[in-house]
């Protein structure tokens, strides 16, 4: 499996650290349900996912990878810093 880092280009997934679903951090006062969901509840979709990978042995960029769990296609990969703006 290879990931197209926007900075380095296509690289072997062994260069990346996997974090999990790309989620928005709740506000401190968002309430228990929102925090519980952020920390513990995950969808397990058959289809498109958005997930965070860290190019640890490459450029050090966190990237948001769009991946299809059915076809294994990876249609998108953008810098997390840009996705978050």
């Amino acid at each position: 499996m290879r990931i197209s880092c926007p900075i380095c280009g296509e690289r072997d997934r062994r260069e990346f650290h996997y974090r999990g679903a790309a989620l928005t951090r709740p506000a401190p006062d968002a309430g228990e349900a929102a925090w519980d969901a952020y920390l513990h509840l995950r969808d397990n979709p058959a289809g498109a996912t958005r997930e965070l990978w860290y190019h640890e042995t490459g450029c050090g960029a966190w990237v948001v990878v769009t991946r299809n769990t059915l076809t294994h296609e990876m249609p998108g990969c953008e810098l997390a810093a840009e996705a978050a703006r």
Binding site: Y54, E56, A81, A84, R85
Partner: protein
């Protein structure tokens, strides 16, 4: 027997080898199978379950019967296929799964008991008593049924892994693959052509057909010479592509050393390749399938295509009076080639009533072979036709039940193959593997011309995808005969007709599975074990499911196939794990003081990838405890030096550096003055402690964070996550400088004296209070000094650029010695920090909160930080949690043990009553007894109470008094002094 003037080996060198201790001579280029057949050997193995005598069935990697052990001692390699193993001088091969010998195998008694051993026998027979299964039945079955055995010794062979990239990967170097590679290479694409054979050419080496007016093998040689001269082509022989994976990634096994004597260890035995190809052409050819009939496993019965391969490539006739049994035209070619080579053909038996006739040999139209005799080698066959039964003397029968395309790789990403009635075979589904185009026989195109055509077309399609213009090209002339076949899977009749040779599965077994309602092909496979041997059903799957379809009254397409999974051929775990044997590729991180430490005899301890000294033995010391105690006393009494470079050092700069630190630490750093250091506590988002350490403010917008050695990578990743994913608007840069600085702790009452001896501007009394930091100059070298202490003593940490680390360490030791000090290692460092109640990852092990370690007050009220919200959950701040305390022995037993559990005195030491556990324990030379850090329910509220320590593993108990975790100098006078 070898037929003079036949085959492609020509005037090859003679090679001496042995089989079961008997000496043979073969020719360079022979496989073990061709050389043994040339030497008149037909019996090469015994079957798995019944120990039936078996000979070679095929001429390729799909061989189910002729499995042998190569070599001896630790390097011996079991289950090597004689059809793949090339001979070399001194090769020692031996047969397997027989006792005492291949010719006389006592366990072949299993064969006489065969009526009891049918499908499901083990499942039904060894049901009870249950305890007998593991102790009696399984060992017995395993002894009787088996393959070759490993040596049981450590594997001395080397294995490698490698990576390759290309525009086009061509899998298989027969006519289709050669054509595809040639078209792509001439068009300028980067091409890898991989073929599992030792010599490229595929079936062109085994056939007598012509291409472009010359012999097929000569055309192949010409193409290979052209490809071999091109810089954009890599030819990989002896390389089996074993798996197709996502994004054009292919796994391939290269047999590098199997064909050479083992004493030359310069080359690895095998290399496992990961090949990333933008496009690929599958040109894996096809495998001929046998027809099942009574006793069709006699040595001497093989596929008709294998007979041609032995004759046309190796110049060997597997028999003197050969017969052929076919349901298609292809089998007749075997007879024609044999006749042309002067070998007697005793008849062709063709199940079709309209089979072509010949002047050169007798053709029995509409006839079937219904039996074979000759226990250790074929002697005769029985033919049945409308005219009745007759017997033909023959020592070799070539069988052709048609060809199965080698489409396995096309199924590795879950696609199912499609059934084609006209050729009675499965073909790859279109688009089965993205970027992989099947061509030639593996795609159901069986004529040479069709192979060339499809190979060229597949290459052109790939070139178009790659945005390249294909070079102009005329296809050479070749035969284009239609493939005429009338399916025949099994000849009806009494007795056992074999489908899966290696696992001894018969037609009857498959029918029995169907009768017992194992009608799904996947259930039938598991019930009969058909297709579960090392050939993974390559020789039997299609025939077995045809028999199953017949037995269940369904069509073949409807019955479906089992799933083809990687690897295509067996792959040794050692090849997959290349680089992981022993130390393997694991990097070793060495500090700049490593050499000096080793020179002093310090045993090095692994700390993650780092190596750190355990202790520095002094003359006369006999064990680590003695050295450790001395080093602790040395630090408390004079001065000690310890390399602390392995701690993570993260440089954080920018206008928002302070904001970032406030957000990742529970406490504030934006208020820290430049030239000061502060201890910080870091939480995970779930509220538990992640790491701790000190951070120094070197300038207004410049901080230097230290992490624990263990969590350096995790913290770096975390900081980048927080910045890039949560606060990308902040203007801050983060970089690891762990390896750029060598840093030494200098601790003890004489530490200032030692430091001052090295500084160009010595420290004055009152300068550099506790937690001060700043730049200094050490003998002209720019350095950083931090007044911080992990030992609880007046201490400094001095950092210099890593290139000066070795010389500074040696200098520090030399000068420390003059002050009655010296180096100390990890053991002493650990004792010093336990005496001071300082935590490490023994305490912050992922399940502890700030409250648990007595640092609830460090979670700042006025700001948000990572983990703050969840750290406030009631369960995480409950005073009844297991919280940090100190323990000291208060009874007769004086030993405290890390990992031991704590109980109320008098209560039962069972899990339900557990009140906590010890995380760190050491003998304190300062206090003269053992001390421990522990987590205890309501811990800090229980100072002065007695608890009972129980180590269930070692059966050790001790009574302990609960005390403050800071055992030594709780007021901190020494550290500030």
């Amino acid at each position: 027997m070898r037929i003079a003037g036949n085959g492609l080996l020509g005037e090859a060198r003679q090679v001496a080898f042995s089989f079961d201790g008997r000496r043979f001579t073969g020719l360079e280029g022979d496989t073990l199978a061709s050389a043994l057949l040339a030497g008149g050997v037909r019996l090469m193995g015994r079957s798995f379950k019944y120990h039936r005598p078996r000979g070679v069935l095929g001429a390729g990697s799909e061989e189910p019967n002729a499995l042998v052990t190569i070599g001896r001692g630790a390097a011996r390699e079991p289950n090597m296929r004689a059809t793949v193993q090339e001979i070399f001088d001194g090769l020692e091969a031996s047969s397997q799964n027989r006792w005492p010998s291949l010719g006389f195998d006592l366990l072949s008694l299993n064969d006489l008991a065969a009526p009891f051993f049918g499908a499901g026998f083990y499942y039904k027979t060894f049901m009870w008593p249950k305890s007998f299964w593991e102790k009696v039945y399984e060992p017995m079955i395993r002894r009787a049924a088996g393959l070759g055995a490993l040596s049981g010794l450590p594997n001395p062979d080397r294995y490698e892994r490698a990576f390759a990239f290309c525009d086009l990967l061509v899998i298989g170097a027969g006519p289709a693959g050669l054509m595809a590679a040639l078209v792509a290479a001439r068009s300028g694409a980067d091409v890898i052509l991989a073929d599992e054979d030792s010599r490229m050419g595929g079936r062109l080496l085994a056939e007598t057909r012509e291409i472009g007016g010359q012999a097929g093998h000569a055309w192949a040689a010409e193409v290979l010479a052209e490809l071999g001269a091109m810089a954009n082509v890599r030819l990989m022989t002896r390389t089996t592509v074993v798996g197709a994976y996502d994004q054009g990634t292919y796994g391939a096994l290269e047999r590098v050393g199997h064909h050479r004597p083992r004493h030359s260890r310069a080359l690895p035995l095998e290399c496992f390749w990961r090949i990333v190809a933008r496009r690929a052409v599958l040109a894996a050819g096809a495998l001929e399938r046998p027809v099942a009939f009574r006793d069709n496993d006699r040595p001497g019965i093989m596929t008709a295509g294998a007979v041609r391969a032995y004759l046309n490539r190796w110049g060997v006739s597997p028999g003197r009076a050969v017969t052929v049994f076919a349901n298609n035209d292809d089998g007749h070619r075997t007879a024609r080639d044999l006749v042309a080579a002067g070998v007697h053909v005793a008849g062709v038996i063709d199940s079709r009533h309209d089979a072509p006739l010949s002047d050169a040999f007798e053709v029995h139209r509409g006839a079937r072979v219904c039996g074979a005799s000759g226990r250790r080698g074929l002697e005769s066959i029985t033919i049945r036709s409308v005219a009745g039964e007759s017997r033909v003397q023959t020592d070799c029968l070539g069988v052709s039940g048609g060809w199965n395309p080698s489409l396995h790789l096309s199924c590795h990403m879950n696609a199912r193959p499609l059934w084609r009635r006209d050729i009675a075979a499965f073909v790859p589904a279109p688009g089965a593997v993205p970027g992989l185009e099947p061509a030639g026989a593996c795609n159901g195109a069986f004529s040479t011309a069709a192979c060339l055509r499809e190979g060229a077309a597949a290459a052109r399609a790939a070139l178009a995808d790659l945005g390249r213009r294909p070079a102009g090209f005329d296809l050479p002339q070749a035969e284009d005969a239609a493939y005429a076949i009338t399916p025949l899977w099994a000849v009806p009749g009494r007795g056992r007709a074999w489908l899966d040779f290696q696992n001894d599965v018969t037609v009857k077994d498959v029918r029995q599975a169907a009768a017992e309602n194992f009608r799904s092909v996947e259930h039938m496979k598991r019930y009969t074990t058909q297709g579960m041997a090392t050939d993974q059903g390559k020789n039997s799957n299609v025939s077995a499911l045809a028999v199953l379809a017949d037995a269940t009254g369904r069509g073949i397409a409807e019955t479906g196939t089992t799933t083809f999974r990687p690897p295509y051929v067996p792959v040794a775990i050692a090849a997959l794990g290349a680089g992981g044997q022993g130390k393997g590729f694991a990097p070793e991180r060495l500090t700049t003081s490593h050499s000096a430490s080793v020179e002093r005899g310090a045993p090095m301890i692994e700390a993650g990838l780092w190596y750190r000294p355990g202790y520095f033995p002094a003359p006369g010391e006999s064990g680590w405890r003695q050295s450790c105690d001395r080093e602790v006393n040395m630090v408390r009494g004079a001065v000690g030096v310890c390399d602390v470079s392995t701690l993570g050092k993260i440089d954080i700069q920018g206008p928002d550096a302070g904001a970032l630190l406030d957000f990742v630490y529970t406490n504030r750093f934006s208020t820290l003055k430049a030239g000061r250091v502060r201890y910080g506590l870091m939480l995970r988002e779930d509220g538990f402690v992640m790491d701790d350490g000190t951070t120094a403010r070197l300038g207004e917008t410049h901080f230097l964070m230290t992490t624990t050695t263990a969590a350096a990578g995790e913290v770096m990743r975390h900081l980048q996550f927080v910045h890039q994913c949560l606060r990308p608007d902040w203007d801050v840069s983060i970089v690891s400088v762990t390896e750029q600085w060598a840093q030494f702790a200098i601790a003890g009452p004489k530490s200032r004296e030692l430091v001052n001896g090295l500084l160009d501007t010595p420290l004055r009394e009152g300068d550099w209070p506790f937690m001060a930091c700043g730049p200094v100059s050490v003998l002209g070298v720019g350095a950083r000094l931090f007044r911080i202490s992990f030992s609880g003593e007046h201490a400094y940490e001095l950092a210099v650029p890593a290139r000066f680390g070795d010389s500074l360490f040696r200098m520090l030791l030399e000068r420390a010695a003059a002050l009655g000090g010296g180096p100390y290692g990890m053991e002493a460092l650990n004792v010093l920090r336990i005496e001071k109640g300082h935590i490490t990852h023994a305490e912050i092990h992922g399940r502890t909160t700030a409250c648990d370690i007595g640092m609830a007050g460090m979670v700042s009220d006025g700001k948000d930080c990572i983990g703050k919200t969840m750290a406030g959950r009631p369960g995480l701040v409950d005073p009844g949690r297991e919280r940090l305390v100190g323990l000291k022995p208060s009874g007769a037993a004086r030993q405290l043990i890390a990992g031991a559990h704590l109980f109320a005195p008098g209560g039962d030491a069972v899990r339900r009553n557990a009140q906590g556990y010890i995380t760190s324990a050491a003998f304190s030379p300062t206090l003269g007894h053992m001390i421990a850090l522990a987590f205890l329910r309501h811990g800090p509220e229980r100072i002065g109470e007695t608890v009972r320590m129980v180590d269930h593993l070692r059966a050790i108990e001790a009574e302990c008094e609960v005390v403050n975790p800071v055992f030594f100098d709780p007021e901190g006078g020494r550290v500030r002094g």
